[in-house]
């Protein structure tokens, strides 16, 4: 048998059981909410990300196959939204606002402090795997700038002093 044929057969090997039952249940629920399967694509990616922290190539292919969508199309969706993570992220994702109000209120200085404390720049994950720092344009809380989100929590009126405490809380959190 030629190598190419072997590759072909390998490439079509069954990837069953990749998606978890819980993931499938949630995806199926979303499916009932939309008239068109293509619309479920984004929700399915969010569901997989919720369970696994990020969307790997394998996850993306599994979702594409499960929903019967072209992988390229789903990749277009996954890469369009910067809150779908196509690379592994830390246990806590920091969404850090660098838009105009936060900038006026000194977010650059606070960011320097964060980078120093965690040893990471935008797009990076701390060595202990706890934090990933991602810039966002606005979190809609300008009157209490600078602001950031860590995981699901919004943190307001940041200054260089209260950061250590915030991060320590997340480090200690067991979940």
């Amino acid at each position: 048998m030629s190598t190419k044929t072997e590759q072909l057969i390998a490439s079509t090997a069954v990837s069953t059981d990749y998606l978890l039952d819980a993931e499938i249940a949630e995806i199926e629920h979303e499916r009932t909410l939309y008239p068109d399967t293509r619309a479920v694509g984004l929700e399915a990616l969010k569901i997989v990300q919720k369970h696994r922290g990020w969307v790997s190539d394998e996850s993306l292919l599994a979702v594409a196959e499960y929903l019967g969508l072209p992988a390229a199309e789903l990749e277009g969706v996954a890469t369009f939204f910067n809150l779908i993570y196509r690379r592994p992220v830390g246990r806590n994702v920091i969404l850090y606002c660098k838009s105009v109000s936060c900038w006026i209120m000194g977010c650059d200085q606070v960011k320097e402090k964060i980078s120093g404390e965690l040893g990471i720049d935008y797009g990076e994950t701390s060595a202990d795997g706890e934090f990933t720092l991602i810039p966002v344009p606005c979190l809609g809380d300008c009157d209490r700038a600078p602001v950031m989100m860590v995981g699901p929590d919004l943190h307001r009126n940041l200054d260089r002093k209260n950061l250590g405490e915030i991060f320590a809380n997340y480090r200690d959190r067991q979940d």
């Binding site: 068109d36 072209p70 910067n82």
Partner: protein, 926 residues
């Protein structure tokens, strides 16, 4: 103010608008950009495409629009998104509009590399043209450019994402127009990326059009890149693609004696702006080192031309009779010259007997006034389609692309109802969502049009025929019933009856005559139910397999099949045979060919590459390839078209009509054919009108910028050789003559001042998407005769043991000559047998494993098992590739059956290049 009426079209409502103070008459309902271009005005654009409408993405075509004569401020508006309004006042030349357009280019160019000198697009780049036109010439941006990683996209296409200006034309063509699924726009803003999910071959059969659709050099022709020449250094002539029976217009380019590339040549009725990848990448065989260069005798000894010519005359004139076997891949003149040499009664068809029978029916239907064989543009207008058996994507790919457009008619209809202009592409698609015009497919397995099919009937060939007969019966109860029938028939019948312009498609490639009969019955039934009085004929598209199948048919007597020729030779009724451009082993059972050639006294073969037939010939004459000769072909519609010679052959190869017909000049051969055969009476019309080329002035094949004319052979001799004369055509192998301007006689490669890219074609159209000024659309040869009105009777049921056999055809591999091109070979698979999971299990076959087929008469063949989940149980489709499989030995006629057994997998190519949607995976067949 003067009214400039530049359009000759009268069937559209006209309105007057004012552009920069001049009043023009333009088409109502159109958009400003399209009308400006129709008027020949220079207005830059990127994302708009004549065939794909407007999306307003690039902001390049900004113009000023004024409320009325009093308004001097005006507003900036995108011409492509602005409907034409009666009395509209716009300005292209307005300073603000000009500054805006220059600003748009400047921002598009921020990350564009300065690599024009090493970019394949350079010199025919729409981005270069538009940048110059807009006046942006100095980069102020001094920051770091965004750069991207490129992907491997297979053997056809190069990827250079850094050049992208994010106009989205590639994905709009690839996904929305051509139905590809493996290219997408990814990421966002300045990281936007156009590529695949991961590296790999672009799957669409139309991927090559990205080269022409991309306004810059992101997608370039990889085969051409490897042996690159600038557009202006290519010698070019108008030609016809010899890849299938559609006859798309192409412009091949030559340099240093090699055919370098093929690009689309606009034809308003046929290919429009697009061709398939077989046509674009399948001509490498012309440069093949194995090409036959000199005449050879039976012992492969080289002969001089005169001796070879003498020997051919001896064979033709010897006692015992000589028959000629024509070729569907040779032009009319070559076939006619052979027919003239051996006599009409001794001239035989060069395609298989199954195809021969199909051709009789196709020609009969073509002369029936009840039916109309539609052009590609007409196919696109169908609003309900039925495809019977023909695997169009693999046999006539350009027709498949047109069928894909036909399902969009539902969207256009909805747009009309919602008062959305048809050219508002994104809005129309958004409105329609998944709504499509009906397209029903009868096939033995999955096809590449399934994603837009409304109904699919999948069954064995014999069951498909019965269902199709039954469909005709459901439409008109006078048509013979096929009995039973699947549930979908009622729905399909209703859709066809309700349609404004229904279309039935079938073809000869599969050799399935029953489905052609059924197609004629369905179309006949539709015609009857739609009423005769004044009703237009029903579109019945019957596809011929090869570039000149129809031409060959028109000069061959019905009884003169290939089988009859082989019998004449075997029985001694004829002593000698002259085979024109044909490998008989691809056409008939090997045993029959072997017996005939063994019995033949003398065999002469004319061909361009060695094959199994030339190997057995006593005389082999080398002939020129399609680009090295002038010839005419007749396509599936009966449209005769002239392919000009692009370049000279530097070997002893000659056009076949010179070897066999003794014609000195092409014109003589063509006109003799026209005079001798009534069906070809109008063939002379394909010759160009040279009335505006006085005193022997010709049209140059080389551009005004053609470089190196005096230097390109200096390594051989510093004396500049005399320009080769071309006594055969209105073209010259020269830079001199009447260049192809708007009113030129002949147009190969379009160019206009400031328009170096293929977008310059609009300068040759009176109206966007309209016919070229040159008007060389070919000549429809077939006359309508009296209608028969009779229905074909239901074919008798053939029972037997084993699985029903049919051919599996592949766009890359099933056409003889293109399958000898390196680029196409990189996409070919090994011979395989497509089989359903149930049948595979029954025969103990695993995916990719070897399988032996045994047919009646002890013929066997070995191929790879290709288990496909959508394949009909009870049928197997055999793809022969370039394996020496005796297909016609196995497929001795409709209803042929084979037995299967597991075997050792044959050496050679695997199935890795196979692109199908339904390849069975482990769980489907284990």
């Amino acid at each position: 103010m003067p009214v400039q009426a530049l359009s000759t079209m009268t069937d559209k409502a006209k309105v007057e608008i004012s552009i920069d103070g001049v009043t023009y008459e333009v088409n109502a309902g159109s958009n400003l950009l399209q009308e400006c271009l129709s008027l020949g005005l220079d207005l830059p654009y990127f994302c708009w495409h004549p065939c794909m409408g407007s999306v307003g993405a690039c902001r390049q075509c900004a113009v000023k629009q004024y409320r009325d004569e009093e308004d001097s401020a005006g507003i900036m508006t995108m011409a492509c998104m602005t409907p034409v309004q009666p009395g509209a006042r716009i300005s292209i030349e307005d300073q603000q509009a000009k500054a805006f357009r220059a600003g748009v280019i400047e921002s598009l160019m921020i990350s564009h590399p300065h690599d024009c000198p090493v970019c394949e697009e350079g010199g025919e780049c729409h981005l270069q043209d538009m940048t110059l036109m807009s006046g942006h010439n100095y980069r102020r941006y001094d920051k770091k450019k965004v750069t991207h990683r490129n992907q491997y996209l297979g053997p056809f296409i190069n990827h250079e994402m850094n050049r992208c200006i994010t106009c989205y034309r590639c994905v709009r063509f690839y996904n929305e127009y051509a139905g590809g699924e493996d290219l997408s726009a990814q990421a966002a803003h300045h990281f936007t990326y156009f590529g695949r999910h991961r590296e790999g071959t672009l799957e669409s059969e139309f991927s090559g059009n990205l080269v022409e659709v991309c306004p810059t050099g992101v997608f370039t022709d990889k085969v051409f890149s490897e042996n690159y020449t600038r557009k202006w250094d290519l010698q070019t002539a108008p030609s016809i693609c010899a890849g299938c029976g559609v006859g798309c217009n192409i412009a091949p380019g030559e340099r240093y004696g090699e055919l370098r590339r093929v690009v689309n040549r606009y034809h308003s009725e046929l290919n429009g702006y697009f061709i398939c990848d077989r046509g674009r990448f399948g001509t490498g065989y012309v440069n093949d080192a194995e090409r036959l260069k000199t005449p050879l005798d039976g012992a492969d000894k080289e002969l001089d031309a005169a001796a070879a010519q003498r020997q051919l005359c001896e064979i033709a004139g010897s006692d015992g009779g000589t028959i000629g076997i024509g070729s569907p891949r040779a032009g009319n003149e070559a076939n006619f010259a052979l027919r003239k040499l051996v006599g009409e009664e001794n001239f035989h068809a060069g395609y298989s007997d199954a195809e021969h029978a199909c051709m009789q029916l196709i020609a009969e239907a073509a002369s029936d006034p009840r039916f109309h064989n539609p052009s590609i543009r007409e196919i696109e207008q169908a609003d309900a389609v039925l495809v019977l058996g023909e695997d169009v994507t693999n046999t006539a790919p350009r027709v498949a692309l047109a069928l894909r457009q036909s399902v969009h008619n539902k969207a256009l209809e909805l747009a009309d109802g919602a008062n959305i202009p048809r050219w508002q592409d994104a809005a129309v698609r958004e409105l329609a969502q998944q709504e499509r015009s009906p397209l029903s497919i009868f096939a033995c397995g999955a096809t590449r049009l399934d994603d837009v099919a409304s109904d699919r009937v999948i069954d064995t060939p014999s069951a498909l025929a019965r269902n199709a007969f039954e469909l005709a019966h459901r439409i008109d109860s006078d048509a013979p019933s096929g009995g039973g029938g699947v549930d979908a028939l009622a729905r399909i019948a209703d859709q066809l009856l309700a349609a404004r312009r229904p279309l039935i498609v079938a073809g000869a490639s599969g050799g399935d005559i029953d489905l052609i009969k059924a197609a004629v019955n369905v179309a006949g039934a539709l015609r009857k139910r739609r009423g005769n009085g004044g009703a237009s004929p029903v579109d019945l598209c019957l596809l011929t397999a090869e570039v000149n199948s129809m031409g060959l048919h028109l000069m061959t007597r019905p009884e003169n099949s290939l089988g009859a020729a082989l019998r004449k030779l075997s029985s001694g009724e004829a002593a000698n045979v002259i085979v024109l451009e044909n490998d008989l082993y691809r056409r008939a059972p090997h045993a029959g060919v072997d017996a005939a050639l063994a019995a033949a006294g003398q065999t002469a073969a004319l061909d361009l590459l060695p094959n199994r037939t030339t190997a057995k010939a006593d005389l082999v004459l080398p002939v020129t390839a399609f680009s090295e000769q002038q010839t005419s072909y007749v396509n599936y519609e009966g449209r005769a078209q002239l392919a000009y010679q692009v370049h000279r052959s530097h070997s002893a190869a000659r056009p076949a009509w010179q070897w066999t017909g003794g014609f000195e000049h092409f014109r003589r051969a063509l006109l003799d054919c026209a005079d001798s055969i009534p069906a070809f009476a109008k063939l002379g019309d394909v010759l160009p009108d040279t009335s505006n080329l006085p005193n022997g002035i010709k049209v140059p094949r080389q551009s005004e910028r053609y470089s190196g004319r005096t230097a390109m052979k200096a390594n051989l001799n510093v004396h500049e050789p005399k320009q080769t004369q071309d006594p055969e055509s209105a073209l010259a192998f020269s830079m001199e003559g009447v260049p192809p301007r708007r009113d030129a006689t002949i147009l190969a490669s379009s160019w206009a001042p400031q328009w170096n890219s293929n977008q310059s074609i609009s300068k040759f159209q009176d109206e966007i998407n309209g016919p070229l000024r040159q008007g060389h659309g070919g000549t429809l040869l077939l006359e309508k005769r009296s209608e028969s009105g009779e229905y074909h009777p239901l074919p008798a049921k053939v029972d037997g043991a084993g699985l029903e056999l049919l051919p599996a055809l592949q766009i890359f591999g099933s056409e003889e000559l293109s399958s000898r091109s390196e680029a196409i070979r990189a996409r070919m698979t090994g011979a395989y047998v497509a089989i359903s999971p149930a049948d595979a299990q029954r025969h103990g076959l695993q995916q990719g494993q070897g399988v032996t087929l045994s047919g009646a008469g002890g013929v066997t063949a070995t191929a790879l098992t290709c288990i496909r989940t959508q394949m009909s149980a009870g049928a197997v489709a055999l793809y022969v590739g370039d394996a020496e499989i005796d297909f016609h030995g196995l497929f001795h006629g409709l209803g042929a059956r084979v037995e299967l057994a597991p075997a050792e997998a044959p050496e050679g190519r695997g199935l890795g290049e196979l692109i199908v949607s339904d390849l069975a995976r482990g769980r489907d067949y284990v």
